[in-house]
C-alpha cells in the first residue's frame, strides 16, 4: 500500500497522562484523512509529534516509506509537511505576501526582498487552488476565513505535500466552512494529502476519505468514511465502555431562576459567538449546555456572569434584567460560578487556600469588618470548608494554592461557590482534568445542590458527564441552541449528532 505518512505505535506521555498510547496513523497518498476524537483525546498531541514539536517516547514515523526523525518543525517542512495551526500564526500588520514568504524570502539586487515576484507567485498559487486571496491585503483587514487561506497558501508556497489542518472549522462561518471543504478537495486533486482534525462528523462525511478515531489517547480504529454512518463514527468516538451511573433521583423543577432572551455576544474577534440564544433554567434542575468546544458556550457563561459585555438581548435573573449589573452585584444577587479556567479566573495561585476561599466575599462580615480583614473568622471559615469538602493540602488553610493538586484546587473553588449557597450555580467544565474520584465527588455535590432547590447550569464537553449529571440537555452549536433534550430520553448518539451539527431538535 502507498502511505505517505505512517506513525507507528506512537506513545507520548505528559506528566500524569498518556496523551498518545500506542497510536498508529497511516495516511494514504492523495487522501483526506480525518482524525476524530473528543476533547483531550490526543489528536493535537499526535500531530505535534508528526510536526516535530514533541518527541514521542515510543514509536516511529515513516514519511513516504522512509523512517524519519522529526527533531523540529524545520525537518517536517523539509519533508513537505505543513500545518495549519488552530491558532493562526500570522503577523497582523503584515501583508498576505509578507506573511507567506517569511523565512523563505526571494531576493533581488542589493539584498532586497523581491516582493513583486513573491506576490505574483502567491497570486498564481492562489489562482491555481481557487483561493482568491489578495496578496497585498493586510492580515488585520481580512476575515478569519481569508486568514486561514493565507495559512494554507503558506504551506503551499513551501511546496508542502502533506497538509495538517488542526480543527480548521472551529472559527469559521458556515459559508467559509463550505468554501474550505471545496479548497481541500481541490488540493487533493492536485496530489496533496491532508490530515484533518475535527470533532464534526458532518465535515468528515463531506470531505474525508478515511477516518481514524482516538479516544482517551488510544487508537480505536480507522474506517472508510463512505462505508460508515455518522452514528457509527460517533459511537467510535465516544465509546461504550464507560459510565458508572451517578446516583440521582428525579428532578423537581420549580420557578424559572434564569431566563435568557435573544442573547447575542461577540467573541474576541468581534464575531457573533452567541446568536439569538434563548434558554431557561429552573430551580431544582441541572441544565447542561452540551457542545463541542468553541461553539459559544464560554461566551454565554461569561455573559451571564458579567465577565463579558453582551451585544443585545436580555438576561433575566429571578425576573430582573441583570444586563447592567456589575460582576460583584451578580454574585451578591445569588449567582455562583465555577469558572472554566480555574487557573486564569478561579484562583489566585499565590494566595493561600483560606485567602482563596474568601475571594467572593472577602468584603463582607464576618471576614471583613469596616474594611479590616478578620483573620480569625477567615481561618474558622476555611477550616470548616476544608472539613466539609475534604480539600486536601500540605498545610491546610495556609497552603499556597499553587502547590495543590488540580483536583483539590477545583474542590476549593467548588467549596467556595457552593457554600455561598447561590440560587444559580454555574459550573463550567467542573471536572476537566480531574481523576475519577474527584469527578464523582463533584457530581454528587452538584446533585445535592439541585436537590436543595438550586438551579444548576452545567457546561460540559464530556459526554458521560452530560448524560449522567444533567436533567435537561441544551445542545449548543455555533452559538445557537439546536435542541433541548431530556437526559433520560436521549443517548450519546443523538447528542453527538446534534453537537456536530448533523441534527436539530426541539428547542
Amino acid at each position: 500500500m502507498n502511505y505517505v505518512i505512517e506513525m507507528l505505535n506512537i506513545t507520548k506521555e505528559f506528566p500524569g497522562i498518556k496523551a498518545n498510547d500506542n497510536v498508529t496513523l497511516q495516511v494514504k497518498d492523495g487522501e483526506i484523512h480525518a482524525l476524530l476524537g473528543e476533547n483531550g483525546a490526543g489528536k493535537s498531541t499526535l500531530m505535534s509529534v508528526l510536526f516535530g514539536l514533541y518527541q514521542p517516547e515510543e514509536g516511529k514515523i515513516l514519511i513516504k516509506g522512509k523512517e524519519v526523525n522529526v527533531k523540529n518543525p524545520n525537518v517536517a517542512n523539509e519533508h513537505g509537511i505543513g500545518m495549519v495551526h488552530q491558532h493562526f500564526k500570522l503577523v497582523h500588520n503584515f501583508t498576505v505576501t509578507e506573511n507567506i514568504i517569511l523565512g523563505l524570502e526571494p531576493k533581488k539586487s542589493f539584498g532586497r526582498i523581491d516582493i513583486d515576484a513573491a506576490a505574483k507567485k502567491v497570486a498564481k498559487i492562489s489562482d491555481k487552488y481557487g483561493l482568491s486571496v489578495d496578496p497585498h491585503a493586510k492580515i488585520e483587514d481580512i476575515t478569519v476565513g481569508m486568514q486561514q487561506r493565507v495559512e494554507i497558501l503558506k504551506m503551499l508556497y513551501r511546496n508542502a505535500e502533506i497538509l495538517i489542518f488542526d480543527e480548521p472549522t472551529a472559527v469559521l462561518t458556515p459559508q467559509e466552512i463550505r468554501e474550505l471543504m471545496g479548497i481541500m478537495k481541490e488540493l487533493v486533486k492536485e496530489g496533496k494529502s491532508i490530515i484533518l482534525i475535527t470533532h464534526k462528523l458532518k465535515e468528515i462525511k463531506e470531505v474525508a476519505d478515511r477516518c481514524s478515531v482516538l479516544r482517551r489517547g488510544k487508537y480505536i480504529g480507522t474506517v472508510d468514511v463512505g462505508s460508515v454512518s455518522e452514528e457509527e463514527m460517533a459511537e467510535m468516538m465516544v465509546g461504550r465502555e464507560v459510565s458508572f451511573e451517578v446516583e440521582k433521583g428525579p428532578a423537581n423543577p420549580t420557578d424559572v431562576v434564569l431566563k435568557i432572551e435573544n442573547l447575542n455576544v461577540l467573541d474576541s474577534r468581534k464575531l457573533l459567538a452567541v446568536k439569538n440564544l434563548n434558554l431557561e433554567v429552573k430551580a431544582g434542575e441541572i441544565l447542561c449546555i452540551a457542545g463541542i468546544d468553541g461553539n459559544g458556550q464560554s461566551e454565554l457563561i461569561q455573559a451571564i456572569t458579567g465577565l463579558k459585555k453582551i451585544e443585545s438581548g436580555k438576561i433575566l435573573f429571578e425576573g430582573t434584567n441583570i444586563e447592567h449589573e456589575s460582576i460583584r452585584n451578580r454574585t451578591l444577587l445569588g449567582i455562583g460560578h465555577i469558572p472554566e479556567d480555574r487557573h486564569k479566573h478561579g484562583l489566585v495561585l499565590d494566595f493561600s487556600v483560606e485567602q482563596n476561599f474568601i475571594l467572593q466575599n472577602y468584603f463582607q462580615e464576618p471576614y471583613s469588618i469596616k474594611g479590616i480583614i478578620q483573620p480569625d473568622a477567615i481561618r474558622a471559615y476555611s477550616e470548616k470548608l476544608i472539613e466539609m469538602f475534604d480539600v486536601r493540602s500540605g498545610q491546610g488553610s495556609i497552603t499556597e494554592a499553587r502547590s495543590m493538586s488540580g483536583g483539590n484546587q477545583q474542590k476549593a473553588i467548588i467549596a467556595r461557590e457552593i457554600d455561598r449557597s447561590p440560587k444559580l450555580l454555574i459550573a463550567a467544565q467542573p471536572t476537566r482534568g480531574l481523576d475519577v474520584g474527584a469527578i464523582e465527588y463533584i457530581h454528587e455535590r452538584l446533585i445535592e445542590e439541585r436537590d436543595a432547590g438550586k438551579a444548576v447550569l452545567l457546561m460540559s464537553l464530556e459526554m458521560e458527564e452530560v448524560l449522567n449529571v444533567s436533567d435537561r440537555i441544551a445542545v449548543i452549536y455555533e452559538g445557537e441552541i439546536v435542541g433541548i433534550l431530556n437526559a433520560s430520553e436521549t443517548d450519546e448518539n443523538e447528542i453527538g449528532l446534534m453537537m456536530s451539527g448533523a441534527k436539530r431538535g426541539k428547542v
Binding site: 503577523v91 517569511l102 523563505l104 526582498i113
Partner: protein
C-alpha cells in the same frame, strides 16, 4: 535668514546622538525586547570613546574614528548583558534596563578613577571638528544647512536612518525582525530562531547606542564626565515612541526634540519665545511623549510582543 540656517545646522548636530541611539532602540524593540537602557549604553559608549581617544590621538589622525568604533563595541558588550537577561532568562526587561543605566554611571566613573585617577576621563584635544565643505556649502539653502560648520557624524546619523529604513523594510532580515517583535510564535513556526533575532536586535541597539554616546562626547565635549550624557538616552527613548518605532518617524521626532532645545537657546532672539522659560523647552519632549502615548493608545502602534519574554511552549 542667517539665523535660520544656523539653527538648522545646530539642530542637525544636536539631534545626531538622539537619532542614532533612538534608531538603535528601534531595532531592539522591533525584535520584541524593550530597552530602557539606552542612557546607560550611551554612557558606556561615550566613556569608551573618550578613553580610547586619549590614548590614540597622539599616534593617529584617525583617532576619532577608531574611538567611535570602540564606543560602538563597548555598547554591544554592555547590551549583551541586557540580551542575556531578557532573552535567555526571561527577566522583566525594564528591571534589567534600569540596572544597566545605574551600572553605567558607576562603572564609567569607577574606571575613570582606575585609569585616569580622576572622576572623569582626561581631556582630549582632537575629537571631531566642525567642517565647512567649500564646494558643497555654496549650494543654495542645502549647502548652508548641511555643509557649513557641521560635524561629519551628522551624515552618519542620516545614513543610519536611511540604512535602517532599507534594512527594516526592504530586506529579509528586516521582515523577520519586525515579525519577531509582533508575533514571535509565527516566526518560530517558519523555522527562524526567535532568540537569534532578538539577540541581533538588542546588540544592534547596543552598537548604535554606544555610537550615539561616543559621538555625543567626541562632538560636544572635551572629556567624558558623569554628566556627559545627561538624559539624552531617555530623550532617544522618547523619540522612539514619538516616532512610532519607524525610522522616518524617529528621525522626525529626534529632529523635533533637537529643534526644541535649539529654540530654547535662541529663544532670547525671538520675541514670541522669550516669554517661555528655559524649563519649558526642557519639559517639551517629555510632555509630548506622554501626549503621544495617549493619542496612540487607541490604535495599536509599537511592536505587539515587546516586553514579553518568548516562551516556546506558549501559543
Amino acid at each position: 535668514m542667517e539665523v535660520i540656517y544656523s539653527m538648522m545646522t545646530l539642530t542637525l548636530i544636536f539631534s545626531t546622538p538622539i537619532i542614532i541611539t533612538a534608531i538603535g532602540g528601534m531595532f531592539s524593540e522591533r525584535s520584541g525586547v524593550v530597552n530602557v537602557a539606552l542612557e546607560g549604553i550611551m554612557m558606556i559608549g561615550g566613556f569608551t570613546a573618550a578613553t580610547s581617544i586619549v590614548f590614540l590621538e597622539k599616534s593617529t589622525s584617525f583617532a576619532p574614528w577608531i574611538a567611535l568604533l570602540f564606543g560602538l563595541i563597548a555598547g554591544v558588550l554592555i547590551s549583551l548583558v541586557h540580551a542575556y537577561i531578557s532573552i535567555n532568562l526571561g527577566a522583566e526587561q525594564v528591571i534589567s534596563g534600569t540596572a544597566i543605566n545605574l551600572l553605567a554611571g558607576g562603572l564609567t566613573v569607577y574606571l575613570s578613577q582606575v585609569i585616569f585617577h580622576q572622576q572623569r576621563t582626561q581631556s582630549f584635544e582632537t575629537g571631531f571638528i566642525k567642517t565647512t565643505y567649500p564646494g558643497l556649502s555654496k549650494i543654495p539653502i542645502i549647502g548652508r544647512i548641511f555643509f557649513e560648520n557641521i560635524y561629519p557624524t551628522v551624515y552618519i546619523a542620516l545614513i543610519i536612518v536611511i540604512a535602517s529604513w532599507y534594512v527594516l523594510y526592504k530586506t529579509p532580515f528586516g521582515l523577520r525582525l519586525r515579525a519577531t517583535g509582533e508575533h514571535p510564535q509565527a516566526v518560530d513556526s517558519v523555522g527562524i530562531s526567535v532568540y537569534k533575532m532578538r539577540y541581533i536586535g538588542v546588540l544592534l541597539s547596543g552598537a548604535l547606542g554606544g555610537l550615539g554616546g561616543a559621538i555625543m562626547v567626541l562632538t560636544f565635549d572635551t572629556q567624558y564626565t558623569i554628566g556627559s550624557i545627561h538624559g539624552v538616552g531617555f530623550i532617544a527613548l522618547a523619540s522612539l515612541i514619538f516616532g512610532k518605532w519607524k525610522p522616518a518617524g524617529v528621525l522626525g521626532a529626534s529632529l523635533f526634540f533637537g529643534f526644541s532645545q535649539i529654540l530654547s537657546v535662541y529663544s532670547t532672539d525671538f520675541a514670541f519665545l522669550a516669554k517661555f522659560p528655559q524649563e519649558f523647552f526642557k519639559i517639551l519632549p517629555y510632555l509630548l511623549t506622554i501626549v503621544a502615548l495617549l493619542i496612540f493608545s487607541g490604535s495599536s502602534v509599537g511592536p505587539k510582543a515587546a516586553g514579553e519574554p518568548y516562551d516556546k511552549g506558549q501559543r
